[in-house]
Each structure stands twice: as C-alpha cells, then as structure tokens.
Amino acid sequence: MTYRIVHYINQFYAGIGGEEMADHRPELREGFVGPGMQIEKLFNGEGRVVGTVICGDGYYGENTEEARKACLEMIKGLKPDILFAGPAFNAGRYGFACGDIAAAAGEELGIPTVSGMYPENPGVELYSKKTYIAITSDSARGMAKALPAMTNIGIKLLKGEKMGPARLEGYIHRGIRKSFFHEKSGAERAVEMLLAKLKGSEFRTEYEMPVFNKIPPAPPVKDLSKATIALISSGGIVPKGNPDHIRVSSAESYGAYDISELRNMTPENYESIHGGYDREWANVDPDVVLPLDVMRELEEEGVFGKIHPIFYTTTGTGTAVANAERFGREIGEELKKAGVDAAILTST
C-alpha cells in the first residue's frame, strides 16, 4: 500500500519568507513543499506526501489554540497515515509548533507522528513524551541527516516494527520503560555498575534521574518604593551600531550599558539586532521590547525606588542553554554586588 503522508512546516521552509512572514496563517498545499520532497523519496514508492500544512512560527506561538485547531482540521481532511513535522533543528518557536501539532495530531487522530529537533530545542522538553523526536543537529546544515532519521522512525511506526531504545534508534527518549527478563538479577547489575563506577570505567544507569532545572522562587521585594530595579533583555536591544558586536543569533556574549542618563529608547540611540523576530516595531521604538520610557515615568512618580544604571542585553535565539546560563550567572553576580533588589527581563 502507499502510505498517506502529511508534512507540517513553517513559513521559512515553505519559501514564503523569513521573520517578516512569521505571522503567516495556517495554509494547506497539495503534495510536498520544501523538505517533504526528500521525505517522499526516502519512502521509496511506499508513501506519498498528500499535503503540506504551513504556518508561520510567530502565528503559531502567539495564537496557539487557533493555529492548532486550523492545522488539525487541514491534517484531518487529508486522512493521513502519518504526520511529519519539521525538522526544526534548534529553532525554538518552530520546535514548539512542530511538537505541539505532532502531539495534537497523535492524540486526536491516533496516527504516528515524528518530528526532528536538536536536543536543546525547548520543544523537546515540552513534547518529547507525546511524539517521536529524531535527534538532529542545531541548524539546517544537518538536513541531509535529519530527514532519513525522521523517515526511518516513521516507517518503523507505520509497519508496526519493534521500536528499539531511544539511544539506538536516534530519537529523544520518551520516558517509556519496557519490562523484560534479564539473565542477571538487579542486585548483581547494581554491584557491577558500582564496581565500574569505582574503577572509573563507563557504565549506564537503568533509571535516569530527571533533570529539574527549576529553583525555589526568590523572596519578594519588601518595599517597592525603595527598590532598585534592573532592566535586562534577550530581545537584542543594543546601542545603535552594536558597539560590542553581539551576535544576531547563537549569542556568545551579552552587553552592559549605562542608561542612567537615558530617558527613552529611540531609533537614534538604540536598535534591535535580534535575528529571530521581525524587528520592524522594535526599530521604530525599542521601548516595545525594553520598556525604559514608562519605567522612567514610574520612577519619577515614586512607584519604585530607581532604575539600576546598567542595562544588560543579549540575543536569545539559537543561543546555547549553557551560554544563557553563564550570562545569567555573571549578570546575577553583578546585580548582587550592586545591591539590586529585583529585575525585569523581557524576551521576544
């Protein structure tokens, strides 16, 4: 039989446009568009991409319920045997959309769904338990490997073939444990692991502890009228000309700028260099990303103490989690030394 494949992609891979078209509404096209051609080829005559559902990443992120509903209707109408979404690599909003539509289609239509993402994509933590996510590289340079990885998993699912462990099949583990009889008892295996650990040789746990990257909330500000508040952004707002050459994406640095004399962000003094959203509005008035103008008003009205003189900024798109955490630690140290009481961090 020929499997009916539906493919979900964003505005970029559909060739509609980049960030300026990120609000593109859900659209259905017949057959394959963009990377779907290769998926069909990899099915080697056993499957056909019957339709491609396209949605802008911004639209999906901002109107998730409407977008999901519209895309699901389109997918349903195509009577698919399987849905592929992406690959999204390390694009956060695209990963979120791919994971969300794959999870929804799997649940509503009862069909197998497969996406592809870089392990650090936020879509992974949100959706890896609800859809198969093939592990890809962090950018579209890895397309040639990502599509076979996704397709192989999809074909296995369609044919009902036995799915091996995540680390062997190349997908992100779904938190599912299968029971089987082992020739050695648990006690023996545990002692073997312990001995291996003591020797410093490699061993693999049979039960991975989840990584909780959550912390208890800091205590609240007691007296707002005396509080010094720092402004921080990952929205790529920098002094005009980007003097410290902060990267437009995958940032490896952040900037610290004195705003003590600044009342208002204007196109003359500040700009956005962020490579992950449409900068049209931010470049007309950077206050729509970093709200300095109204902060100054509220400061003068005495609603809070004062704005911390230093403003910290970077671009949060494709930025490695390890880097973002390092920026956070370094900025945190400085705020602590300066006796800052609270911070407002804006992200795009």
Binding site: E19, A22, G58, G61, E62, G92, R93, F96, P122, L126, N213, K214, I215, P217, A218, P219, P220, V221, K222, L224, A227, I229, I232, Y277, D278, R279, E280, W281, A282, D285, D287, V288, V289, L290, P291, D293, V294, E297, L298, V303, T314, G316, A324, E325, G328, R329, I331, G332, E333, L335, K336, V340, D341, A342, A343, I344, L345, T346, S347, T348
Partner: protein, 78 residues
C-alpha cells in the same frame, strides 16, 4: 538566563515574554505574559498613547509580581 540571575543574585526576576510554556520550561518563577513576540512590552497598533498604556499596565503588573510571595512558578495575568 532568568533562572540563573534569580538563583545567583537571590532577587525576584520577572520575565515578560509571549510564549508562556517556554518560560515554564526554562524555570522562570514570576511570569508576565507579553503582548506579542516582536513587541512584548507594547502594542504599536493602538497608537502612541495606547502603546504606552499597555506598557504601563504590564510594568505595574510586573511590580505586583515582584512584591508577591510565591512558592511555585506563577503566571500573573491581567
């Protein structure tokens, strides 16, 4: 970034951004949902005055967030 600043400095960090599930995933404790991805703290479609009013309301809500005692991740809705 938000979580690490809060952890190291020991101060409340309010994050204003649009995709709430991502803030929940990365461990933001005090969440104020923003207006839109390209303009989280304003709404240019409302004209200069409306835009500032939106910003003012979001900031007042952020102040409420930073002065509220919480025990878990909390979304501060309008």
């Amino acid at each position: 970034m938000t979580r690490e600043i809060e952890r190291v400095a020991g101060i409340p960090v309010v994050q204003i951004a649009t995709i709430v599930p991502i803030m929940l995933t990365v461990g933001t404790n005090r969440i104020v949902p923003g207006v839109a991805i390209p303009h989280p703290t304003g709404n240019p479609a409302l004209g200069p005055e409306g835009d500032r009013a939106v910003r003012r309301e979001l900031l007042l809500r952020s102040f409420k967030a930073m002065t509220t005692d919480i025990t878990e991740q909390t979304i501060f809705e309008k």
